[in-house]
Point group: C2
């Protein structure tokens, strides 16, 4: 099939595309659900893909849930899914520190329960989670006690982010041997109704600024999450479809890893943005253009049921 750019995926083209694909990767927020509501038709689409022998995985930058929490939510919203199909940044960050970085020490964690649990599951100890309000004065902040076993700072979503956490991160990261990992750089976490809350990217940028260093980012569009999945399951990139709602994370990940890409318009990015990238003629911006788009993944259902 000839490569097309930003083509509406409907009718016979759906079956034509699926015949060239073994594996489908779905982003979650804005793609298969919004907040606590499944996108209409999404469970049926994913369950039908599986009954057509497609392998399905859920690939999300959100670090606030463990694999088990995602599997529970997926099941509750009507998706057939198991823990092993979920690749979130909480899980992948723990895998990165354990397998890739071969961390021998503790983590100073700016992050919540899910990150905490995934680190524990791979046997990595951590300090730092929970509230850390400021006390004392400048000299106290500059001399906060450190845990000498900490060999990495991991920054994920943390609603208890505070000035004291920045002060501790500064001191740990002043040692150039201390690893510096960020789960993802999404600047906002969109909620239902158009509202949003600050995303992990804000916290990562603050820590990068104080550390005078860049974090190694685990999440999309960096290829680590796909590598992690591909190495466990023997995925062939050219026969894999990435479905997402963000050009700068999902679609760019697909381009970076040689996957086919499908933009769904139920989340962050608009069709107009994709078309602007396409029409710019800039090679760098073409990486942000999906092969296909749909208004909602529910639009795939007729072809799968036909």
């Amino acid at each position: 099939m000839a490569v097309s750019r930003c083509q509406r995926l409907s009718g016979a083209l759906v079956q034509e595309l699926l015949a060239t694909v073994d594996t489908v990767l779905f982003d979650c927020d804005g793609v298969i659900w919004r907040g606590d509501q499944a996108i209409p038709g999404a469970p049926e689409v994913i369950n039908a893909l599986k009954s057509h022998d497609k392998r399905v995985f859920f690939v999300t930058n959100n670090s606030t849930k463990t694999r088990a929490m995602y599997a529970e939510k997926l099941g509750r919203l009507g998706f057939q899914a198991s823990e092993e199909e979920v690749f979130g940044t909480a899980y992948c960050s723990a895998v990165y520190l354990k397998r890739t970085a071969k961390l021998d020490g503790k983590v100073y964690l700016i992050g919540g329960n899910a990150l905490s649990q995934e680190l524990q599951r791979v046997g990595i100890q951590h300090v730092g989670s929970g509230p850390d309000p400021v006390t004392g004065s400048q000299n106290d902040w500059a001399n906060v006690p450190l845990d000498p076993d900490v060999k990495a700072v991991l920054v994920g979503f943390d609603e208890h982010f505070s000035y004291m956490k920045l002060a501790r991160a500064l001191r740990y990261l002043d040692d150039p041997r201390c690893l510096f990992i960020g789960t993802n750089t999404d600047t906002r976490l969109p909620l239902e109704g158009g509202r949003a809350v600050p995303g992990t990217g804000c916290l990562v940028r603050a820590v990068e600024t104080v550390a005078h260093r860049k974090a190694q980012i685990i999440g999309k569009p960096n290829h680590f999450m796909f590598d992690c999945l591909a190495s466990e399951y023997g995925i062939q990139p050219s026969r894999t479809l990435m479905v997402g709602d963000r050009l700068d994370t999902d679609i760019l990940l697909g381009s970076n890893c040689g996957l086919k890409t499908l933009l769904t318009l139920t989340g962050v990015s608009q069709l107009e943005e994709a078309l602007e990238h396409l029409e710019s003629g800039s090679e760098a911006r073409l990486c942000l253009v999906p092969d296909y788009y749909v208004d909602t993944i529910g639009d795939l259902l007729p072809a799968l049921q036909g």
Copy 2:
């Protein structure tokens, strides 16, 4: 006198330079004091400059003190100084909002007592100062109550910086008419003994990331602080000397405003950095090269007493 680049200022050259100068601007931290200790000889140098009829001003990015607090500290450490000679970012931010932006409304302040007091002094009301710990869940953070009179967000040094403050700033700054001001972008605040605490730049970057906007920065190297001072006192840039310890704020401000510049080596920047900029031959980097340097401003004392 011919312009020289990065020349040691000593001996007869001190008097030669001072003959061409009416006004001397001093940065504070790392220049005239470190923490709560005056740099040896600094009070005598500044007092002698005044007795030689030079006008002296104190120009600092630090937003944690009001003009009155600075005057008190200066006096306590032996400097002859009055409030009117102090141009800190707490005062200048209030002046900017009042005179330049002609703000008609309240400020959402991420900042401490000094900013709070300087805003009050110019008659600007504000909300937001003090601790703001997280409560509730995502939907609560996305729907935090807003003060409808807030027309500007001001970010300065705030040891109570928290996730909730980011969430509120996001909502205020989603209105494109809401002004967005940062006091300064220093990434760290150096203390005595080589230690440091996170600087306002970390907080400004976090808010810029969530807001998808850049803040208007009041502090050095932006020229607003010098404009503020020059308009009040009728300063002639070419007959003004800026003395500082940072190439990227103090010396760059001097270059940006057409001042003579003197680097003192008792603070952040090293002579080697200045020489690397000089030898790079890059036009952009030449702005970071001081005209002169001294090991400490105490070195100027013999020439002033001679």
